[in-house]
Each structure stands twice: as C-alpha cells, then as structure tokens.
C-alpha cells in the first residue's frame, strides 16, 4: 500500500512536509449508491487507507463491528461513516454527511448521500457542491434503475466528472467479462441522457482492490485506480477561471466616508486593478481601483476567492448587484424556464409567491404550473399540475423584479437558486435556470406622470385595500356592502370586488382546487393593487382560505394600505345559517373542495380588524370598520 501519510518525511523534516501540503488542491466529490452497493464501506476504506482513522476510533470501530456490524468478526467500515443514532439503528444513512481525507496531492471532501428513492433531495444537495460523482454499482446486479437515477441527477446538477465504480468485484471472481458488460450497458444509457464521458473502474471496497492500490486480482484492468483518478481530475473552480469575470456583491464595506468596498466571492473569471467593470442590473460602468485584503492589496483575484473590491467611481452598488466584466456582462430578466427539484413535504402551489434566492439576490417569485414532470427512474416526461417532495419538473418562473443571471450550464453561482416558503421559511425547492423567456431589460415601464399619489390626491383620500376573509356564509359580503355604502356617503371613491363580479369574468376559467384558489387570489390581488394605484379604496370579499396568499397580496401593497378583516364566524354557525344552501350540498358530497368541510381554512393570526359576528351585528361591524379606517386616516393635503 502507498503511504498516504509519509510518516518518514513528517518525522525527518516537518517543514518540508508542511510546505508540500500547503499547496494541495481540494476536490469535492459525491458518492451515490444504494444501501447494498457498499458505499459506506468504500468511504470507510478510503478513510482507513489514507490513515484518517485514529487508534481510539479504530478501537471503537472494532468494538462496534462485533456488536452491530454486518461483516461478522471483520471490520465493518460502513460503521465509520454512519452518523446519527437513529440511522445507526436502522442500518441506513438517511442524510447528507461530509467526510474528509487527504493524500499527498489533494484534500478531499466527500458528500455521502443515501441511495434510496425517497431521498432525491439529499442527493441533489450533495451534488450541488461536487466536482465529481462516484456512481457505485454492485457487480452482481449491474446497471439498475437507481444507477440511472443517480447518473441522471449528477448530470442534471452539472457534475462534469463521473466515475462508474463497479464494486464487489470479489464476489464475481474478478471477472473481466462481467465488468465489460456492465460498462457497455452503462455507456448505452449514459449516452442516451447526454453524459458524454465517464471513467469506469472495477473495485472491491471491502477488500480494497483498485481503491487506493492496484489490484493483483484484476491484472486485465489497466486504467487508473480510484484514488489516483481522484487526485488528477481538474476542479470546477479552476475551470471557472477562464470565463468572464462575475462577482455577486454580498456586503458593502463602509467603515468610514473615505472607503467603500464591495465584498463577494468571485464566481468566475479573473480580476485585476484597472479592469473595466459593469454593475448589473443598473448597467453602470467603472473600473476596479483596488483589491483590498488584510495582508495588503492584491494584484489579481480569481474564481473561488472571497475578495473586497473598490471602484474608481462613485457608482451605486449594493448587495444583490453583480460586478462583471464590462465587455461581457450577464443578462437580467424576470421570466425564466427552469428545472425544479421539490424538497418539501408540502407540494408546490403554482401561482403562490415564494422567495427565490439566487447568488446574493432575494426576490419574490411565482412558479407557474409545471410543463411536465420528469420520472427520475425512466427519464420519461409526464404532465403534472404540481410537484411533490422529491419530484423534478420543468416550469416557468416569474420574479417581481429583474434578476441578474446566467444559464445554470454556464454558471452554478448565477444559475442555481433555491425557493423559500414565505410563511414557514423552509427551503422548499431548488432550481436551475435554463434560459430567460424574454429580456426584462427590454421592457421599460412607462414613466407615468400622473402618479398614484396624484390619483389619490385628486380623490381626496388615501388608497386602501380592505380584505375581508372568512368562511362561506360568515357575512363578508354583507358587511363589505354596508362599509362601501358608508364610504360612499362620506364622499369616498371605492369599489367592491366579490365573487359575483370576479368569478363570472376575470376568473371564469378557475375552479376550486388549491392551485386554482391560489391563482384566483393572485389575480384579485393584482387587480386590487391596480385599483389602489388609481387611488381607490378597494373592498374584497372572498373566503381566501390560505395565509400565504393573503400575505402575498399584503406584500403587493404599500405599508399601511392593506387591512385584513377577519369575519370570524364559527363553522357550526355558518353552517347553521347556510344562506345559499352550499354547506348542505358540500356535506352531501355534491361540492368538492368546500372550505371548512373538505378544504382547510387558515384563520388570520394578526388581522388588522377582527369581527366576532356572534356578538356584533353587520351594521355595528361596518361602523367599527369605517371608524378604524378613518382613525388611521391621514388626509392628503
């Protein structure tokens, strides 16, 4: 075995050793395989053979191997890497774990991800930072569905180097024919999904064949052993260096009036003082004055480094902007086609607004209904209305303002994004931008001289959106009508949007599924917003059962203009009244997705106004609402 920690040099000349190791590069790779492919064993073997395991750990390992190991009295390397207690009991790994080892040439970070079906999410996570993927195949089983799944996901995430590790060769008598057949099968499949190149290596993780040392049992194999291959492939950061310069601005460093630095990690390219740059999305140009660092200014910085730049001119530039090569800037757009991986137990709701984070930009974004979903086992496309946990699909995305981007294939930093639920704050999805549907920079808003303030001033009022929400039959429309009459009497300009004037026209095409409800509210919100731009006081009376949509509408409006009015009538009471006979029909199963019966209602947590209809008459309620609004009324003068 090669000595990966050259103890002799450490002992004889530590300075020489340290100097050698000071200049190691770093490779991040991912291992994928199922529970039985011997993935953990392989990683354990790499750690063991590169002497990353200390005696106390080894003693614990030997102990554990005898107690819970699956290899009899032999050392079970898998136990080295199976981390959390719950997982150990189940005997499987269920999350992404990161391991570290080093050789003389490189330091390695291994993302260990589970192979079984329900954890696509974990593999995608591990793959997003990997330069290389090791796809494990059990030599006895050959290319399986999961092999295809892993390869597809690795390819989808843009991993440039694939290694096909045909494992457990010891169990097929180290037979070259078995290996050759598997490689041929795999090559046929890989070509079909666009994988151009891969490296196949026959190994035995358990016995150590061709992992760190060349196997005597397979003289027919003349390619590199696994570790040698891992030591020589090029890493992404170095490949990104030849692309045009881009640096997403993370932080504006402003310790005093004389210094304004823009801090960020160089996503691609190279930068030197004097280089002309363009700030996106504004398009302003300047040039780099200094590359500031604590140890003195730098002459050059490259992809992968965190730096602080100062510019020659006083240009506007803040977090979320991208500083780029002046002659080759990236685009900005607000509508995209993207591949999405859904990562949350709650499925995608097309039309709902999520936070989209890309680089250092965070914007509100709406995902339209997917064009299709992709079966990760067969790569077949199928129609889909939504995406559930671990689903992958292609959809259009619209952001509320243009973002600076590049296609994922060109830049992982400016093409990869995550989606965040606005209420739970969970990371619900990840995506890869393919291309923009149109260039947002070509769309110029008309410079409107009659501003919304002018509209409001003309009417002598401040725009408001009074958003009534509550169960069917709670009394929303009744109260809203009374409020509007009172406003009219006060000489205010208003308009009431309700089911009667919206469902028959604007939203005629929508039904009552969750997705349609979301879209219904989105449209109403947008229309209401335009009406407030026109200076109106808008009243809406819709069940609007979901908090997220109400929050989305709230976010459309200026601070203080949105009034959420919760018409609080208990379900039993609304059902007892049953003004339109709908509850009876719903109970009889004649109406699907009826709020309160077969579809949830999420009551507001902090409405501006709450009307308890068991204690307040509609007339009193209307009085209260008008008073509340007038109370916070600041007349426009």
């Amino acid at each position: 075995m090669t000595a990966y920690r050259p103890d002799a040099l450490i002992a004889s000349d530590i300075s020489a050793y340290l100097d050698l190791h000071q200049h190691k590069s770093l490779l991040r790779f991912l291992t994928c395989g199922s529970v039985d492919d011997g993935k953990s064993t392989l990683i354990g073997r790499l750690l063991y053979d590169s002497k990353q395991i200390f005696e106390d750990q080894l003693a614990a390992l030997e102990n554990d191997s005898k107690r819970v190991g699956t290899q009899g009295q032999a050392i079970d390397f898998a136990l080295l890497v199976d981390g959390l207690a719950a997982e150990r009991e189940q005997g499987i790994t269920i999350d992404v774990a990161y391991r570290f080892f080093a050789t003389e040439k490189r330091k390695f970070i291994v993302a260990d991800t589970p192979g079984h079906e329900q954890y696509t999410r974990n593999m995608v996570t591990g793959a997003s930072t990997a330069d290389l993927a090791v796809i494990l195949i059990d030599a006895r089983k050959g290319v399986l569905t999961q092999t295809k799944r892993h390869s597809y996901l690795a390819h989808l995430l843009g991993i440039r180097h694939l290694v096909l590790a045909v494992n457990k060769m010891d169990l097929v008598e180290y037979d070259q024919a078995v290996f050759d057949r598997i490689v041929a099968d795999y090559a046929a499949f890989a070509g079909s999904i666009g994988i151009r190149d891969f490296t196949a290596i026959p190994i035995s993780g358990f016995r150590g064949d061709n992992v760190t040392t060349r196997s005597d049992a397979m003289p027919w194999f003349t390619g590199p052993v696994l570790l040698d291959h891992l030591e020589i492939v090029d890493v992404d950061a170095d490949a990104d260096r030849v692309k045009p310069f881009r640096m997403p601005v993370q932080w504006v460093n402003r310790p005093n009036l004389d210094f304004r630095g823009f801090a960020g990690l160089v996503a691609s390219g190279t930068v030197r003082p004097g280089d002309p740059v363009r700030i996106l999305p504004s398009g302003r140009t300047s040039s780099v004055a200094r590359i500031v660092s604590m140890g003195g200014d730098l002459d050059v910085a490259v992809a992968g480094q965190s730096v602080t730049l100062t510019l020659a001119d006083e240009v506007d530039c803040s977090r979320g902007d991208v500083i780029a090569a002046a002659d080759a800037p990236p685009q900005a757009a607000d509508q995209f086609k993207a591949t999405l991986v859904w990562m949350d137990p709650a499925e995608l709701l097309p039309g709902r607004a999520y936070w989209l984070k890309l680089g250092t930009q965070t914007v509100s974004a709406v995902v339209r209904a997917p064009e299709y979903a992709i079966d990760v086992n067969t790569m077949a496309r199928s129609a889909a209305k939504t995406l559930a946990l671990n689903d992958i699909g292609v959809a259009e995305i619209a952001t509320d303002r243009p973002i600076v981007f590049e296609p994922y294939a060109e830049s992982h930093d400016l093409g990869g994004f995550i989606l965040i639920d606005k209420l739970t704050n969970a990371t619900v999805g990840a995506g890869m931008l393919e291309f923009s549907l149109r260039r947002a920079q070509n769309v110029h808003w008309q410079a409107i001289e009659i501003t919304r303030e002018a509209h409001a001033q003309q009417k002598g009022q401040q725009p408001r959106l009074l958003w009534f929400t509550g169960l069917s039959g709670s009394g929303k429309s009744t109260i809203a009508n009374l409020v509007e009459k009172k406003l009219y009497a006060l000489g205010k300009h208003s308009f009431l949007l309700d089911g009667d004037n919206v469902r028959h026209g604007l939203n005629r095409d929508l039904g009552f599924t969750d997705q349609d409800r979301v879209e219904n509210i989105r449209r109403i919100g947008e229309v209401a917003k335009l009406m407030t731009d026109a200076g109106l006081i808008v009243l809406t009376a819709f069940i609007s059962p979901f908090r997220a949509e109400r929050a989305m509408v709230r976010s459309l409006l200026a601070e203080g203009e949105f009034f959420e009015i919760f018409v609080d009538t208990p379900l039993e009471e609304a059902e007892r009244r049953d003004v339109k006979g709908l509850y009876k029909k719903a109970r009889a199963g004649e109406i699907a997705n009826f709020t309160g019966i077969s579809s949830p209602y999420e009551p507001p947590l902090a409405p501006e106004i709450r009307i308890d209809t068991s204690r307040t008459s509609p007339e009193e309620a209307a009085e209260q609402i008008v008073e509340a609004i007038m109370g916070v009324w600041s007349p426009v003068l």
Binding site: G83, V96, Y98, F100, A237, T270, L358, H412, I420
Partner: protein, 312 residues
C-alpha cells in the same frame, strides 16, 4: 500571507487555489452572508485554536472595518488563566466588543467540575449559552465546530436551525445547495452558523502557521504542574484545584490539544514548543483530538444528544 504565497509568483496566470485558500474563501463567504442577512449576529468565542482561526477569518472578511458583530464568551469561570488573558488581547486587537456571560444560577449554586460532573457542562455551557442568546436577542451565532470532530457532526448543516427553545431537530434541517444559505427564520428562532464546517484539524493548524495567528500558549509544550487522575493528565492551574489524598503536583512538560475547563481537559506529555513540532506530533499521533475531552466518553452518540439539548 496566504494570497502572497501563490499570487506573487506569476501574476499572468496565478496558480490554482490551494485547499486552504478555498476553505478560507468559503468561510469568509459564510461570515458575510450572515452579517448581511441576520438581524443580530454574534460570534461565540471559546478562546481555543478554532475560535482563533474563526476570529481571524472574520477580521479578513470585513477588513478594513472591524467585524460587524460582537464576540461572546460563555464563561464557566473554570477556564485556564492563560485563556482569559488571550481573550482580552484578541478582542482588543480585532476592535470588537467582548461580551462575557456567566450563568448566574450556576454561580449561585457553586457549580464546579469537581462536585457536579456532567451538570457542570450542562449549567455553565448549555444553559449559559441559551441565557446569553436570549438576553441579548442574538438571532445568529457563529460557532467554531468542525464536521470532522465527531461522527454526528458530519451531517450538521453550516446553518443549523434552533427552535425558540434552542432545540436542534436533526429531522428538520434545511438542505444547503451550492453556496446558497437560507437564513430566514421566525421570531424567536435562531441559527447556529459553523464557518469552519469543512476544515479538519490539520487544516486549522496549517492555517495558523501560514497566517501567523496567535494562539493560547497552552498549545505549546512547557513545564507545568500536573497530576495524573483517572487516566488523564490534569494541570493544576490555580488554587481551586482540589488535590485528592496522596496527589502531589508534579512538573511535567505538557501541552494541550484542545482547551476547555482546566479540571476537565487532559494534557499530553510533549516537548513540542513550536507550531511545526506541534503539527508534527499531531500527524504522528494515534488518538483523535476529542479523546482529551471528558464529555465524549459516555457513549458514542453523546454529542448528538447534547446538541439536541442545545449544547453547541
């Protein structure tokens, strides 16, 4: 300096980034993300070598400004004297505010490592940390933990979410893709952020050497008064050390691989008194770093349990 080692050679085509340069860039990126997105970040400063590296990275990340957050030391009153000296010096050098929190309850009850065993860590450190975070309303706390330290940490996220009651739920952590971290949270929730997640013990030492970072002298061998107890070599750092019958402090040449409360931290006999020789010993040694800490010996999954309870 790191940059100059590669940058000076050939400005026309700089050498590929080394593993230390990439680790440094990643950590700085993480520090800046948190500064940009959290409302009230703080850096937990434990005075050890990992904290020293983390603090150094923070200074580099925000240079020429001082890091835009304070340092917080959750003190147990039982650290080595040399650590307290280093603490003041480091904060001053960085131009940062230093907050020290000592759990008043543990203080009132006289909790100490001699009488109270595991309760000592629980009250001073775990409870003390929660108290301090609540008291100042910090919503993001940097910690110097590394994934290579212990098996359950291998799966820890870089941004680790804690409920309003500071609990860690291993089943409910956010996926981390690319260099994208989701730092959004509800009121009361907080994040622990580990900028050194991907560093190994050797990386830390190499970086200290490359950057000339000052560390507590206890990491270097020197003659110090010691007693041998329960298989550990303990240093008699002050008069509070309770000698058992028959124990007489003996001067030995020792150093420490990790630093904590002095009565709980085992030393190793050594003559390594320079960074190079310390690293040499580390590379030739045959036991892992955490072995010197009493906390891990209970059971293999003990760290995971402690983490769920809110220990860092």
């Amino acid at each position: 300096m790191l940059q100059t080692s590669t940058m000076d050679t050939a400005p026309a085509s700089p050498a590929p980034l080394t593993h230390l340069q990439r680790l440094e860039a990643e950590s700085i990126h993480i520090l800046r993300e948190v500064a940009a997105e959290a409302e009230r970040p703080v850096m937990l400063y434990s005075i050890g070598k990992d904290s020293a590296v983390m603090l150094h990275l923070a200074r580099k990340a925000f240079h020429p400004a001082p890091p835009p957050f304070p340092l917080l030391h959750v003190d147990t009153t039982w650290k080595f004297k040399a650590m307290y000296e280093m603490r003041e010096r480091s904060a001053r050098a960085a131009g940062m505010e230093l907050l020290v929190h000592q759990n008043p309850d543990a203080k009132a009850r006289g909790i100490n490592p001699f009488d109270h065993g595991g309760l000592h860590t629980d009250l001073w450190k775990t409870e003390g940390l929660k108290q301090a975070l609540d008291r100042y309303g910090f919503d993001a706390a940097f910690g110097g933990a590394r994934r290579d330290e212990e098996k359950s940490r291998a799966k820890e996220r870089i941004f680790s979410f804690r409920t309003a009651s500071h609990r860690w739920d291993p089943k409910n952590q956010r996926p981390e893709l690319w260099r994208m971290y989701n730092a959004r949270k509800a009121k009361g929730e907080s994040i622990r952020v580990f900028p050194l997640s991907n560093w190994t013990e050797l990386d830390i030492w190499q970086y200290i050497l490359a950057e000339g970072i000052e560390i507590v002298p206890l990491y270097f061998a020197a003659p110090r008064p010691t007693v041998e107890r329960d298989g550990m070599l303990l240093m008699v750092d002050d008069e509070r050390f309770r000698l058992r019958p028959g124990e007489v402090p003996v001067e030995r040449s020792i150093r420490f691989r990790t630093l904590g409360c002095y009565p709980l931290t085992g030393a190793v006999e050594s003559t390594a008194d320079t960074l190079e020789t310390v690293i040499q010993e580390m590379l030739l040694t045959t036991t892992s770093e955490r072995q010197g800490r009493a906390i891990d010996h209970d059971q293999a999954a003990s760290m995971e349990k402690k983490k769920q309870e809110g220990y860092f």
